[in-house]
Structure formats: structure tokens, C-alpha cells
Symmetry: C2
Subunit: 404 residues, 2 copies
Amino acid sequence: MSEIIVQKFGGTSVGSVERIGIVANIVAEASKSKKIIVVVSAMGGETNKLVKLANHFGENPDKREFDALVSTGETVSSALLAMALHSKGIKAKSYSASQISMRTTDSFSKAKILDVDADKILKVVDDNTIPIITGFQGITEGGDITTLGRGGSDTTAVAIAAQVGAKRCDIYTDVDGIFTTDPKVVSNAKKLDSITMEEMLELAGQGAKVVQTRAVEFANKFDVPVRVLSSFNDGSGTLISLGEENMENALVSGIAFQKDQVKFTLHGVGDIPGTAFKILGPISEADIEVDVIVQNVSVDGKTDFTFTVSSDEQATVQNIIESIKKDVNFRELIIDSSIAKVSIVGAGMRSQAGVASAAFRALSENDVNIQIICTSEIKITMVIDESLVEKAVQVLHDEFNLDE
Amino acid sequence: MSEIIVQKFGGTSVGSVERIGIVANIVAEASKSKKIIVVVSAMGGETNKLVKLANHFGENPDKREFDALVSTGETVSSALLAMALHSKGIKAKSYSASQISMRTTDSFSKAKILDVDADKILKVVDDNTIPIITGFQGITEGGDITTLGRGGSDTTAVAIAAQVGAKRCDIYTDVDGIFTTDPKVVSNAKKLDSITMEEMLELAGQGAKVVQTRAVEFANKFDVPVRVLSSFNDGSGTLISLGEENMENALVSGIAFQKDQVKFTLHGVGDIPGTAFKILGPISEADIEVDVIVQNVSVDGKTDFTFTVSSDEQATVQNIIESIKKDVNFRELIIDSSIAKVSIVGAGMRSQAGVASAAFRALSENDVNIQIICTSEIKITMVIDESLVEKAVQVLHDEFNLDE
């Protein structure tokens, strides 16, 4: 049997019946030389429409019902893509999560995949039929419908690729691949032919969300090579390769950035064990993703504790901090919503020095003040004023010659 | 345990989030004194939207995919109604066909119900939770999604009522009940408080399609009383009772009519055994419903064979007749598309004489020419010129004093 490729098409790729027709062409072409399994998202905008209907009955609809509701979008697009393939004379069958036993945990709206009936999928493939599987959906042991959270279709695709032993998972989207930075900001941004999983993880976490972070983690864990490419333009996309395949890492592979961030600083907090947990515990319990966390050395037993969250969460986080004020002693809460994050990402950084200092010099020469610095093995994140983001990204892109 | 009522809400009843809120009120009110099981259709117009999407990929999409696609409408409305009930503090859970094992035959798009997991539904009811079940949907032995055909939700509701031993099945719709004839045509048409199953079957078959014919047949077979009432106005609706309960049948209970009909006459056909089958066999194989079928006594071994079908089917039937022309000898095919059917329905007719003659007299006095007459035990159907329908219905309604 020839090798299996899992192709995943996102919401914009299947955003209309015309687009679904184009996707059918892509699948048809690929199926000439390979065994294909397809995973689809809902048609672009459909999930939002369903969410709006639900919100008519309150801000927090029952999660079991919410998942049953929003999962219908994927059922629609999978059936339509099967029909589109039939109209080209190609055998295809749609499958819902329930029909391929895509078992998940019962955490509605953010369920985790446990298992999938790979044999059933492979039986369809062996019958020379292309299975068109609904992304995003799952099913609990008890038969309730779950969803994997926004963007979960990528994870569905990678999980299926892992379970059926696919050679690769191709994630089709509306961009040509992963770029050194956002081409809308830096006109000479360059598409990367390949990137390591780790670099991708760092980039994804920083807002370059071409592929869901969880999907990349999954791919990493199960050694599934993932390729990101466009369903709108021809091209080979960007291969997210396993670290071992890519010994010669670029020093810096890309510049990520993220606006709409809020910085919370608890000024004059006691530098005693457990403080960080007291602050971040209730925030993470509320399912809020905290990103940059910085605590400086203390002076006179007092320190400043700073972290950033997405702007959407500002009110919630503010309430949480107020509620723990008695428990966590601090002098003042400072909130700054005019900030942004810029990150330099590169798997080569860990074995090379000088990237950080070059970055800091380039930014200071261009009057970009760095408020916070936070580094990991393959990433340097800086918090700067939001108005300076475009300038900073361009400066760093030039500094590391990413257009070459 | 108090008695169980199955409530079914059609597409117009759940046509918007506002309407779903009103339906939630109706369910909530009823649940104060009874155990309620709800069956819902898709939001009005949704199924047509899905059909339109499918038709983009050809006139005859694969039926398995078509059913998977159009069944999503009911999943949406069931989840939304559950949310609406939650917002009123009432426990409710949506269930798809797959989740309650609504097993059907595998005739996609016109599947027949085989069985349903009544225990699972009753367990939910026992837990003081209202099950909101998707109408229209089914599932095959092999796990494929099926649909019961247009209006199939009524059948779902009656089937569930039968299986759980419900006291009654209340079918909520956008009319106040069954009328003696269409109130839009005859202003003094009267709502019937009750009607027999047989009368309802005859009326339904004649286009007074408030309840699906199949659902009424099902109710008849399993002795489930059905009530038809409005989700828009208060009122007790019309009870479709079992024949035995209604000994004193009205002579005539209603006047049904149906436009958009085509009359096919095979003129000069040989009066030999097997002719009727040769003509109607291929038509019924093409799943076309033939209604009035008349064949007169033959003269010189030749006769005229006439039948009516819905206007939608004119082209198809014409092609079929052309294709069997060699096999079935006839002189001429006459097609008349400016006809309509008018029927007098009444369970009392079978034991009383004179209804037919009174009808024929009244129509002739009002210059309505009757082209074809066809009678059954409780129905007299007449084919007349389409332009005379409103007049004929009014004349007959007056003749039998149906406004009293």
C-alpha cells in the first residue's frame, strides 16, 4: 500500500461551496499518488454563528449542549466535501467523531483526545475510499459530544496521522507557510521551507498561530511531521520537522509578536515563598493563559511581580487580584494595557551567543525601549510599548538578515 | 410517576431564538404537572439552506452524505432548546438519534424507524430531566446517519410516544388545529375539536398536511392519541382520536383540496390485464406518489386510463410514459396541468347515503364541472378545473354546514 497522508483543511479553506470545490481538487490530485485521509473544520464563520445563537440563552450555556451545537459545523463541511469529491468521480465518505470513535475526556469545550478507532479509518482507506473526518469533535465514553476547543481540528488531524501511522500531516490554511515574521508588517518577510517543532511551538505561543499549539505538541510527542501550506496558492509550504532532521539550525528563524496584551504589576509584594502561586493559582484556575512572568530581585524583602495576559481577560484578572488582595500583600496594582510582546525565535540560539545583545543594541539604536525581558533556550521575549511593535519587528528582522 | 406527554415542535415553532424561548415556556409550563419528552425539528428554513449547499455539487448528492448534512439542523435546535430551558432553571438534555439509538432502515432520506432505546429516554425522564430529542434523524445498524424524509419529525415523536407508553403526543405547529377546510379560502372554516385517525389520514393525504401521514399511520397502529395545536396561540387544538372513542362521527368533517396537480390520461389503451401495472409500476419505482387513479369501463376493448401526480413530477412522469409507450399501447397521451383536487372527508359517510349526490348537485348549481370522481369509504375526491377550487370549497363547506 502506498503511504498515507492526512490533509487538514481549515475554516477559510472550506469557507464556501466554491472553496470546498477547490479543496476537492487538491484532495483529488493528491489521491492519485497517495492514500489520503481528510480532516475538515467548519465552514469559516459558521461556528461563530452557532455561538451567537447559543449566547441568546445566556453568556454561559451548558457546556454539553454548547458542544453538541457547535460540533454541527464540522458535520456540514465533511458531508459537503464528500459530495464535492463524488461530483469528481472520487469515492469518499464523511465520518463524525462518533462514527470513528474519536474518544475524548469529558471536559466539554476543551476535551482531550484519548483514542480513535484507527482500524475503522484504515478499512475505509483500504476500500479506496477517502474518509472525510470532522475535526474539532469528540465523543465521551458515555456518548456525549465534546469539542476540542478552538482550532482543535489541527489536533484531530495530527492525532489521526499518529494513530494510522501516516507519513505526514498536511495542514492547509490561508497562508503560504510559516514566515520569518508577519508579511503584513515586514514586507520582505520570508517564507521558511522548514522549521523545527520547538521553534514552531515558540512561534505559535507568541501569536503566530498558523497551527494550534496543542497540535504541534501532539506532533512532537508522536513524531508526526507536519507541513503547513496554502489551499489558496500553490507552493510547498513549511515543513515542521522533527529536531533531529534539522541539524543545521538557523541562528534566528523568525520574529513573533503579539498585541492586545495587558501587563499587571503587583508593586511591593512580599518576597516570601508561595507568593507567586497565591497570585497565579486562581488565575490559572480561571483558565486564563498567563504568558510572560517576571519577578525581579527583591529590595528590603519587597519585590515587583509582573505578568501579561490577553486584553480579553483584563477585567477577570483585575477581579481576581482584588479578591486575593488581603491574602497577598502588595502596595499597588499597576495595569498597563498599551503594551505588546516581541520575540526572537531560533533553535540555533541555544548553542550560539550574542543574539540577545545584538537585539538589545539594534532596538536601542532605534529608540525602542524594552520594558521587560524574558528568555528561554530558543526564544527571547521583550515587552515594549504597543505603538512601537511594527518598528521593532522590522528592526529585528533586518538585524538578523531574515530576508536573505 | 405522573403520566408522560411527548411534545413535538415543528420548524416554524422553533424558527428563531425568540421562538425557541417561547417553546421553552410551553415546555416549562407543561412540565409542572407532567413528565415531558420533547422532539424538535430544525429551525424553519435551515434544512432548505443545507439542501441548497448540497445542490451545489449536483442535483442528486450521495444520499448517505445528504442525510449526514441535513440532520445537523435538528441537532442545532435541540441543543438550543435545552439551553433555553436551562435559562429558566429547568433540567434538560439534548439527544441525537445516535445517542438514543433511533434505529432505522438504511434507505437514506426516507428511512423507516425500526426501534428506539426507550429505556435510555425513560432513565433521563426519571432523573427529572427533560430529554430534547432530534426529530427526523435516525441511525443504521452500521452507524450511518439517516433521515426520515420531510416532515419525519412527527413520526419520530409518535414513535417515541408509542415506545415509552406516553399518554399522548402533542404536535405543536403554526396552526390552531385541524379545520373543516383551509381558513384562508373559506373565512368561516371551523376548528375541529376532534377528528378520527381515518379522517385525518384522508385529510392529510389530500394536502391538509398539518401532520405527516406516516405519523398518523404510526399513531393509528400503536394507539397513540395525537393532538395538534399551536405554539403561537393558546388553545386546545384538535385531538386526533382513535376510531373507537368517537362513535358519533360527523357526516362530513372537512373539505380538503390540493392545487399544483397534473392529470395524465392515456387515451385508447388496451383493456387487458396488467396494463395498470405496466403504467404505474415504473412510476412508483421512481418514488412518485400517484393519487387519483381512474379507469372507466371499456368500449371496443379500449379504455382511458387517468391518474394525477404533483406538478413537480410532470417532466419525470412524461419521460416514463414515453419510455413505456412501446410496451403499453395507447392512442394518445393527454396532459392537463390546470386541474385541482377537492375532497369531502367524513368518517360518518360510510354509514350514511346522499353525501355524494348532495355534493354533485351543489357544485353543478354553481357551475363547477366535475372532471373525475373517485370515492372511498370516508372520502369523495373530485378533480375540477384549478380556477374553480376556491368556489368549490366554499360551496361544499356551505352545503354541509361546516361552519356550525
